[in-house]
Point group: C2
Chain length 341, copies 2
């Protein structure tokens, strides 16, 4: 660590800006390194010297000009990112020179931020960088998505993709603590070793050297209760084939398609994440407890004329096959029935 | 309606059996019409003369030999289906000759069923066939899937596919009663007219003559809160592009792919329905209310050594672009950070 910054000695602020929007995988030429004067904080603002910059997959989305949950980075603007910085000048009584703060300073050596957007860190904290990881956004992502959507129960099988990553390693360990059997999916033998030997997952599938279908069948022979999805794509497709009754899939990341030039084939699930929406499978036989309420409500609405209902009736059992074939083509209008006697 | 059946005069039972498993769209040759003796009920059983047979899209799944929520129909077995029948002989005190009962008699003129599997219908019921429709399985599907998963609120926008079908017409009307703006999707002008003029939907998109993307943009300019999905496929893909924050998609049917010979491109959502599972998009910023619990829990687990955590640190801001490109390739092991000062 450098000695405490001295405003007088600071002349330049190195920044990395978005030079152009990447097509597919980003290249270094999509970024531009710029030096400019260190900015001066205004009223209620703080000047921070960046200590730690977090790099996270979501930044790929900000580089593109597509609809998402936040606006993209403008061309020639400084790349965005979470940071831990040391206060070198403060125009707000809540921050003093030397304080450590969690902010959103971006890819640069110095940033000016509104004091009310900063979060002061305990000066005695052992690892300030953890505020950008396990005790920050990635850790909370793992914790909340696993608990609020995954709802793990002891004895269940949890699969975690990008298992060695910032979010995955926390999600899988929290699953173990909740009593789940936890299977990671990661790229490469080194990551898989780390996930099993160091993090204590029950198994880890190397997506670079194993068939996902075969490895899932072997490692999750009774199916998957929770799939903590950081990737979408091929891993999601493989896990979908092994879902157990009532399975939950928190869709947390889409790493496999962040660099995609074209929309993926089939239903693109990205909007589920952007809109924090859900798709949930439904089968009426699970809802027998609601039959009484259904009959009371719908009968009443029918009798009062508030609900209308049309039937499409064919005559005689012999007519059933052709009528059924037509049903699948959408030939009927209203509920299709065969009058037999 | 025929006069009350007379056991003595009944000699043959016409049945429709599964002759072979269809490949793609079923043809009439996949069915076989058979006549056999009218069966005789055993102890606790009832002989019913079928009055009404319900035809429903789920039957296509039973014709195939694939994993689903129930076993397929065996080759040469009678096709399954919900029925309303009149009791013509009873070996159970709960049923008398002449009673009407809802059962699962299948595609045949007479069936023997266990009395405990039958549900007696009110003899004064005005439309016994409604027990197979709006007051039966399709109606309850609409009611429970809309309420339990869709959770409609006044002012929201609801899209219903297969809107003129048995389930869709009820789901959409219940959405109107709940105060939603309701847009149907149906095949053909006649169905769309029915849906709007007779059922009172606000609009109906004719999937046969309109571009789904354009028609959805015009009819749901502010997006879709609930998509009651009876079809999956192209309609789901189009609606996915217009999801509003917190949208809900009850996945109730997959009509578009029931006849498919190959699995659809991209993630096949059929297992969601089979397993009554859910995929839900997650964004950590929605969960700020849980930050305190997260920090307390995860800090404690870290300090006690029950959680492990690894960082992957690169040095200097200049290293950020290459490190970020590597992150998207999965080159890092653990949380990726740039140490700047």
């Amino acid at each position: 660590m450098r000695a405490g910054a001295n405003l007088q000695s600071m002349e330049r602020n190195m920044q990395i800006r978005l030079a152009r929007r990447p097509i597919g995988e980003p290249t270094v030429d999509d970024f531009r390194l710029v030096e400019e004067a260190v900015p001066v904080p205004g009223a209620g603002e703080v000047l921070l010297q960046t200590q730690w910059l977090s790099l996270d997959p979501y930044m790929r989305g900000r580089m593109s000009d597509v609809r998402s949950y936040v606006a993209p980075v403008a061309l020639d603007a400084v790349m965005v990112g979470g940071t831990v910085g040391k206060v070198v000048a403060s125009n707000d009584p809540r921050f003093a020179v030397g304080d450590l703060a969690l902010g959103y300073g971006g890819w640069q050596q110095y940033s000016v931020e509104s004091a009310s957007a900063l979060q002061k860190l305990d000066p005695n904290i052992s690892h300030p960088s953890y505020a950008l990881g396990i005790l920050g956004m990635p850790g909370q992502t793992a914790y909340c998505a696993l608990n609020d959507i995954g709802a793990p129960k002891a004895g269940e099988t949890l699969v975690v993709s990008a298992a060695a990553g910032a979010v995955g390693q926390v999600a899988g360990q929290l699953g173990k603590i909740a009593g789940c059997r936890v299977i990671g999916v990661a790229g490469g033998a080194e990551k898989c070793r780390y996930v099993v030997e160091e993090l204590g997952f029950d198994a880890c599938i190397d997506r670079k050297s194993e068939s996902l279908d075969e490895a899932l069948a072997r490692n999750a022979p009774d199916g998957v209760d929770i799939y903590f999805d950081n990737t979408a794509g091929a891993i999601l497709e493989a896990v979908m084939k092994r879902l157990r009754l009532g399975a939950r899939i928190p869709l947390v990341g889409l790493i496999e398609q962040y660099n995609a030039v074209q929309a993926p084939k089939g239903p693109n699930l990205a909007p589920l994440l952007v809109a924090r929406a859900k798709i949930e499978g439904f089968l009426v036989s699970d809802h027998a407890a609601h039959t009484r309420a259904f009959l009371a409500d719908v009968s009443g609405l029918l009798q009062s004329g508030k609900l209308r209902y049309r039937e499409d009736v064919v005559e005689g059992l012999e007519a059933a096959p052709a009528a059924f074939i037509g049903l699948l083509r959408g030939a009927n209008l209203g509920k299709l029935l065969v009058r037999i006697a």
